[in-house]
């Protein structure tokens, strides 16, 4: 793949891939390794995107599959799932407003407490703006499963953040 094409892909999709990988792994070093792996594959296999209609969805799916495989290996080694809540690297941008800063911090912690499958659906729905149909394609799950996972995940976030949300509303 030409260098310019790889740069275009990076500039258009790296932020989204970084965010979903970070939200999944909760580890910045792992996120970097996985992002590196995605672009290494794109560089060495130019045909990977041939015939792909939705580049973003394809790359999100690739990122998710790599992350699932990565976390499975990491869990086998270190049972790292237990460390999710304490190893969050901070998913959100820093906020100047103290209320926003507190809310983002609590939202980050609440997301870390969600099961990974619910967390991924919530992420793709809220911050990627994907439909449940596309989310189902990305995560390789039925549409209804994507919708129910989103509902469960959002309910947990709502319950967890309601006091703070009502206070700073």
């Amino acid at each position: 793949m030409a260098a310019s094409e790889l740069e275009r892909l990076y500039d258009e999709h790296a932020s989204a891939l970084f965010a979903i990988l970070l939200n999944f792994t909760r580890d910045e070093a792992d996120t970097r390794d996985l992002l590196q792996e995605i672009f290494r594959r794109l560089a060495t296999r130019p045909d990977l995107l041939a015939g792909v209609r939705d580049e973003r969805a394809f790359l999100l799916r690739l990122a998710h599959n790599l992350a699932v495989d990565w976390v499975r290996r990491r869990d086998t080694r270190a049972r790292a799932v237990d460390r999710l809540a304490t190893e969050s690297e901070g998913l959100f941008a820093a906020a100047a407003d103290p209320d926003d800063a507190v809310f983002r911090h609590e939202l980050d912690a609440a997301l870390a407490e969600l099961p990974a499958d619910q967390r991924m659906v919530v992420h793709l729905k809220l911050w990627e703006g994907l439909t449940f149909e596309v989310i189902g394609d990305v995560l390789d799950i039925p549409l209804n499963t994507a919708a129910s996972r989103y509902r469960y995940g959002l309910d947990k976030l709502r319950t967890r953040l309601r006091p703070l949300y009502e206070e700073i509303r």
Partner: protein, 140 residues
């Protein structure tokens, strides 16, 4: 699906951007010209690593237990004397015994014990026959 206020609030929270320093590093190392045949972090490890990895401490403990058992077994074996049988304590002792049993001196079952040749009795000179004794009495 319409997003309620809570969802709208969540959606407005900006995600942290990818660190700028990563761009050049990732793109440079992803160029085919700079790619080396390095092992990918996702490359599957050897099968034996996968087999051992879930509980390396348990496997190490099992190996250590076997070492202790072998050491104790070795220490408990009777010492080998210089001229003694070299097969003491060996599991091949039965085989060696079987071979020895085939030797003539060990053919215990087929050999019929024979009485040693009777020693020749010394010729008795005294006392003589009873008739002689009677003659001696009468002549006395």
């Amino acid at each position: 699906m319409n997003l309620d206020d809570f969802e709208q609030r969540l959606r407005r929270q900006p995600l942290r951007p990818v660190p700028p320093a990563w761009r050049d590093a990732i793109l440079d190392s992803s160029q085919p010209s700079t790619l080396e045949p390095r092992p990918s972090p996702l490359t599957p490890r050897p099968w034996w690593t996968e087999w051992l990895w879930p509980s390396p401490v348990a496997w190490a403990g099992l190996a250590a237990t076997w070492v202790v058992i072998l050491a104790l077994n070795y220490a408990a074996a009777p010492p080998l004397s210089a001229g003694g049988p070299r097969f003491a304590g060996s599991i091949n002792g039965y085989v060696l015994f079987s071979r020895l049993a085939e030797e003539p001196q060990f053919d215990l079952l087929s050999e019929t014990p024979t009485a040693p040749p009777a020693a020749e009795r010394p010729r008795r000179t005294n006392p003589g026959p009873r008739s002689d004794a009677r003659r001696r009495i009468l002549s006395a």
